[in-house]
Symmetry: C3
Subunit: 242 residues, 3 copies
């Protein structure tokens, strides 16, 4: 059975960083797309682009390529984007896959779902830098890519790009809770992921907002895409199959 995957990157990333994992999924016989969303492309106006622009760019990618029966996976902030796209693209989606990803309720923003200490940090970074934010390296190294050595942590950090802060503060325009969407849903949890503190965790706090869903876990950090792309690819295939 050959399935079609669309992998949606998280904040500060582009689709390119997901390609090593995508290659492992392709080796299992599937088709995989890793688009880079509006807001994370070279030359994008990072002070103006918001969540709706990112969602629209994903919808455009799917319809422009006329994709059907897709396994639509979103990592981290990408969960905000695939949730928004689910309403528009419902008939083209076989399954939504959240990968340590945010699951909004109607009217919730990413900043509603993270610890206040992160919101304060991002607010001040955005103010100082034209409404675009970069994750500070110490947080990246300790809390996001804790399973890498310093060389990998450093080279991976060099690939990140500035995130438009409006994509974090804009509220989701979904019309109903994700549990009410009649689409297959999976949640993939990398169990050493401390990008959100385990006292305010990805799973089950956010995953259970999906209603009935399939849980798949793998070992790794938030950035397992860099540290163990084969492990996250295997988890995605288990999460994405019928």
């Amino acid at each position: 059975m050959s399935d079609t995957y669309v992998l949606v990157h998280g904040a500060w990333h582009t689709g390119a960083e997901l390609e090593p994992a995508a290659d492992f999924i392709r080796k299992a016989g599937h088709t995989v797309h890793c688009p880079t969303l509006k807001g994370n492309r070279p030359g994008d106006d990072r002070g103006a682009i918001g969540l709706a622009d990112a969602v629209q760019s994903l919808c455009d990618f799917v319809t422009d390529n006329d994709l059907h029966a897709i396994r639509l996976a979103g990592h981290s902030w990408g969960g905000m984007v695939i949730s928004g796209a689910a309403e528009v693209l419902a008939e083209r989606i076989a399954r939504l896959i959240y990968v340590n990803a945010f699951v909004p309720d109607p009217g919730e923003s990413l900043t509603d779902l993270v610890p206040p200490i992160y919101v304060g940090l991002f607010d001040s970074l955005a103010q100082a830098n034209g409404d675009a934010v970069m994750l500070p390296f110490p947080i990246w190294r300790e809390a996001f890519i804790n399973d890498a050595d310093l060389a990998l942590a450093t080279s991976a950090y060099a690939k990140l790009n500035l995130q438009p802060y409006k994509t974090f503060t804009d509220k989701s325009t979904i019309s109903k809770p994700m549990a009410a969407f009649e689409i297959g849903k999976s949640y993939v949890n990398a169990t050493s992921d401390t990008a959100l503190p385990h006292s305010l965790p990805w799973h089950p706090r956010l995953s259970e907002k999906l209603g009935l869903f399939r849980y798949v876990q793998c070992e790794g950090s938030h950035e397992v895409w860099f540290t163990n792309p084969e492990a996250i690819a295997q988890a995605l295939v288990i999460a994405g199959r019928d």
Copy 2:
């Protein structure tokens, strides 16, 4: 050291589904029995049989076969049954092993220990079907056997049998909390088991009702008996040894 195991199946199952795991335990040098309890046998009156009948059938099995120093393991609903049997069979039991299993307090039923949404579902299914219930396939596939592919999920589902609902709603008649039973106790936790939501989890919510107990975990879903019988067998041997 050769030990004697009795593996007690969960709701909707028979002993036959535990045989692949039992075979791995036998290869490690032990004797293993997988009885099918009253209520899950062909021809049983599923509208009338209750928890006490299931407990009695387990006690009969153990005494009829004159088993001693047994490692008595119960899976899921089977935890209700081995708890009831512990009082009657205490001198024949070396250790109780709960495998993602319910641990009742005196007077608690299984329906007291699951999310209200499940109780509502089971109530309506029982009303419509002569007080016997079947687990709906979508819940089975996503929340019980999340680590299987669709073919295995389907073939395993075909082996299930109707569960007498009285075995879920009858209250445990144990005379004291399980923590007060002076028997060795272990709790085996398959860490991807979402048959109970992780916000209302098997462990530590139910396991810690045992008082002092030995914790053993393995990777797998609630139905790891089908998806990885060797892993659950290894966990059972670690849980069951002195």
Copy 3:
């Protein structure tokens, strides 16, 4: 890159029990010291020695050997000791590593951080035995070394020594919360460790007192030093590197 590790044992242990893991770290190219603290040495007056004595003996070891840029790891109660030493030795420490270890706030003792049932038990044991306590074997076997067979559980227990109870009840004299120390910090969590019940867990309850920290997990019990020294050594290297 060759790093210098100092591994600080937990209560009832000496440095000798950490040597098998230390050997695996040495094989990875590092220097490792496993001192035995004041209070756990032959002939020590176990009725009189307190937490400050243990901290002082660690500081003496580090300065006597003129160690620098150390990865200072503390197991269990050893977390109380490395926290106290962090203030004195700050310029000699590259990173603090807590291994299923206690993290005190200023003025907190170990007995402030464990379940009341343990405090009551230790109180009565200390009263009966000149203010020194031994962990009862049933708790050791079921809750501390749950992943061992009985032979290893027994032989490892025979290596334990009486713990001065004042080292549990003395309050930490650190001047500020550990989160305020500007030193690298890691927390290693053996995921089957039930020495603290998972309803009152090591992680994230105690780990998040560190502020920004690196999380590393491995499979094993509280006594993974005996049951899988290679696994804990690998986790320590991931936790300790820059």
